[in-house]
């Protein structure tokens, strides 16, 4: 018999900010908004240096089908448009806006009129929604499908990463937005069963969501175990529907669409007010932060400025992350902007930043017992060290979702995820040749 849930592990929760109701911080001096905060073609800037812009005004138009528009997150003057080095290593254009301190909304922001599925998809596109769980895949592209193929719509509110509580707060504090988004989904995907997956360590969020989806047909809140990685797309699909996304296929191929809870809230907000995605609720935490808390900030706000606003750091930062400690990306300094898909910024002290030195693999098999997808991380690492592309393909390196469970449990502290990322590159390069 197939198990009810995929394998998962207990990681420390560190949900220090779970009761921190997010305050708003929009009194920033300036914002730097990259034109690439999504998977796909970067947006094209449509403003000029010196131009005055208002909150919600379009500043970058979608650069292709798989792309998303970008809007001004504060009102002020466009100071510069230049290249920015992103944390991931790439560069893209970024628009820097100097605040006029007024935070005026752009004129003419009004709720879109929904007539049919296409108008809904257009609305999702216009609001600038991308996968806010971290992937940043343009949401409109995900929804542009034949509704008959969609059997399940899964709302991902698992928030399984340690520390982060921003999705939880979006669900707790803005249930109306989520409900509005759900209603639209119900209208245009009437036969789809909607599941809202939330880990059971967030009873408040579960209760609020149940309250707001009470008596909605085909819409249920699913309590997931509080173990990592419940929020992984394939894991959520399996744990709510029992379906397996086959190798090389998309969730839609098994009748599923997965949307992050905050993404849905952002769509809901646009449907209610016509205000596009220009601000984010983020969790700021980590051992170096004096006052860990949730905060709503404009997209493009600089991390350094936010940190100073909330009381600064306890010590010299030794590591800073976009996102949680299991899958987050380390950033080189605090002069980095908040992106659309930033849900947390963690700043760690020397002790927490230190990654133990790897020792030899003792073949204990913990990584194999841990992998949610039953991969063999230690074998993958061996094949990666030998650059054995054939073996890597046999072992299905392409299925690895880099959740970090294997590295986390490894007693020899081997950097398995690092080798898996490298291995994927080897396979890609070999495929190109």
């Amino acid at each position: 018999m197939a198990p009810r849930f995929l394998r998962s592990i207990h990681v420390p929760h560190f949900k220090n900010t779970q009761d921190s109701v997010p305050a708003r911080f929009f009194e920033v001096k300036s914002v730097t908004i990259p034109m690439s905060m999504h998977i796909g073609a970067p947006a094209r800037p449509v403003v000029k240096v010196g131009e005055h812009v208002k909150t919600g005004q379009l500043i970058g138009e979608a650069g292709g089908f798989v792309s998303a528009p970008i809007h001004a997150s504060i009102s002020g003057t466009v100071k510069k448009i230049d290249n920015l080095l992103l944390a991931g290593g790439g560069t893209c254009q970024a628009v820097t806006i100097e605040s006029d301190g007024l935070n005026e909304k752009a004129e003419g922001l009004k709720p879109p009129e929904l007539t049919d599925l296409d108008s809904f998809i257009q609305a999702v596109r216009d609001c600038g929604a991308v996968g806010l769980g971290g992937a940043g895949f343009p949401t409109s592209v995900k929804l542009k499908v034949d509704p008959a193929r969609v059997e399940y719509i899964l709302i991902n509110g698992a928030e399984c990463e340690p520390y982060i509580t921003s999705d939880t707060h979006t669900m707790r504090d803005n249930p109306k937005r989520i409900r509005t988004g759900l209603d639209a989904l119900k209208r245009f995907f009437p036969q789809a069963q909607i599941y809202i997956g939330i880990e059971n360590n967030k009873p408040e969020a579960i209760r609020t969501m149940r309250e707001y989806t009470d008596r909605v047909e085909l819409c249920d809140v699913v309590e997931l175990p509080s173990s990592y990685p419940q929020g992984g797309e394939k894991v959520l699909i399996y744990n709510t529907t029992g379906r397996v996304v086959p190798e090389g296929k998309l969730p839609l191929d098994v009748g599923c669409i997965v949307l992050n809870a905050t993404t849905l809230a952002c769509i809901g907000k646009y449907l209610m007010t016509g205000e596009p995605l220009t601000s984010k609720c983020i969790t700021i935490d980590g051992s170096a932060v004096k006052n860990p808390q949730n905060l709503i900030v404009p997209v493009g706000a600089m991390i350094r400025e936010i940190v100073e606003h909330i009381g600064g750091l306890k010590c010299e930062p030794a590591k800073a992350l976009y996102g949680g400690p299991m899958m987050g990306t380390a950033i080189p300094d605090l002069d980095q902007p908040i992106l659309k898909n930033t849900n947390a910024v963690l700043i760690l002290d020397e002790k927490d930043a230190k990654i133990p030195e790897p020792g030899p693999c003792i073949r204990c098999g913990r990584c194999i017992d841990t992998c949610p997808l039953h991969l063999m991380p230690t074998e993958l690492e061996q094949a990666c060290l030998k650059k054995d592309v054939k073996r890597l393909s046999e072992l299905k390196i392409n299925l690895c979702m880099e959740c970090g469970s294997c590295s986390f449990v490894c007693p020899a502290k081997r950097n398995l995820v690092e080798s898996h990322k490298l291995a994927k590159q080897y396979v890609r390069e070999a495929g190109v040749k």
């Binding site: 190798e247 400690p325 990654i355 949610p372 039953h374 393909s393 072992l395 299905k396 007693p411």
Partner: protein, 311 residues
């Protein structure tokens, strides 16, 4: 330039380390060590300490000599030292024990690349070398200063009828110092399972198969074959050695059955009364093949015939 750490995710790691695992094994072997002192006197403790110390020293010197990173802090050499000493009788001359340590640490472990690279259990290689070099010394169970009567000569395996259940359970008979007290070994085994250091699969399957087959082949009473000889020490502490046992659960079952079969065959039909050592060493050699046969099937993987490129 930035001084911040830019390592790849994940940025937190579990508290479990190789060292803490080895420490747990040492803790698990402590009851058996205490039992050996009670049964055979303080020389048992002395031999164990010398063996551990010599193993650590050998590993340290070898790594220094070859300018490799010194890894003695992982405590694996201590575990090897304990297990080698547990495999000799209390009357064993010290220099012979040191030869066993040398074979274990240098021949079986370091020459193949150190921890994680050896394909045979180091302590068992040490035992085999001592067995062939000093057969008489290794099988003479006299000179005890503890509870066990020094005159006792026949081991329960050689003469199964001569001992009662309680004598077997608490090890009140001649034998090598670490293997006789079944109760202490079981206690340590339970500790290792509770702490998640080992899974009970290999010990249960191995002991179960041995008991069943020695009963089927030779009519040996089940409890007797389980408690006598080196089966418990081997099944709980040596067959479960990560490096030299299969990595998947399915593989562990196959391994356990194989070890049980070989042990039963040697015990019932062989010239040696004890089959555990050879069974585990033979099993160790098969591990790579068992691993190949029992690779996991990833969830969502297409059938193996199809080859695809990239992500």
């Amino acid at each position: 330039m930035s001084k911040m750490n830019l390592s790849v995710s994940p940025h937190i790691r579990s508290a479990r380390t190789t060292q803490s695992i080895m420490l747990d094994v040492i803790i698990a072997l402590t009851p058996a060590l205490i039992a050996s002192v009670v049964l055979y006197g303080f020389r048992a403790l002395l031999l164990t300490q010398i063996s551990c110390g010599f193993c650590v020293l050998l590993e340290f010197l070898y790594e220094k000599l070859l300018k490799r990173p010194v890894t003695v802090s992982d405590l694996s050499a201590v575990v090897t030292g304990l297990l080698v000493a547990f495999n000799v009788p209390v009357s064993m001359p010290v220099w012979m024990l040191l030869v066993g340590d040398l074979a274990a640490i240098i021949l079986a472990k370091q020459l193949f690349g150190g921890l994680g690279c050896n394909f045979m259990n180091p302590a068992l290689v040490g035992r085999i070398v001592m067995m062939f070099s000093f057969t008489t010394a290794l099988t003479t169970y006299t000179g005890s200063a503890g509870l066990v009567d020094a005159a006792t000569s026949a081991t329960p395996l050689a003469d199964p009828a001569s001992y009662g259940f309680m004598e077997l359970l608490f090890g009140l008979h001649g034998g090598v110092i670490g293997e006789t007290c079944a109760a202490a070994l079981l206690l340590g085994g339970i500790y290792l399972c509770v702490r998640g250091v080992i899974k009970p699969i290999i010990p249960l399957v191995y002991i179960g198969t041995t008991v069943l087959l020695t009963w089927a082949f030779g009519g040996v009473a089940p409890l007797r074959s389980a408690l006598a000889g080196g089966l418990l020490l081997g099944a709980i502490y040596m067959a479960t050695d990560y490096v030299t046992s299969p990595i998947t659960d399915k593989g562990k079952v196959i391994f356990g059955v194989f070890l049980g079969l070989i042990t039963a065959l040697i015990r019932v039909f062989g010239n040696y009364s004890e089959g555990v050592t050879f069974a585990i060493i033979l099993g160790n050699i098969l591990v790579p093949y068992i691993n190949d046969l029992t690779e996991t099937r990833p969830i969502g993987a297409n059938p193996p015939a199809k080859k695809e490129a990239g992500k």
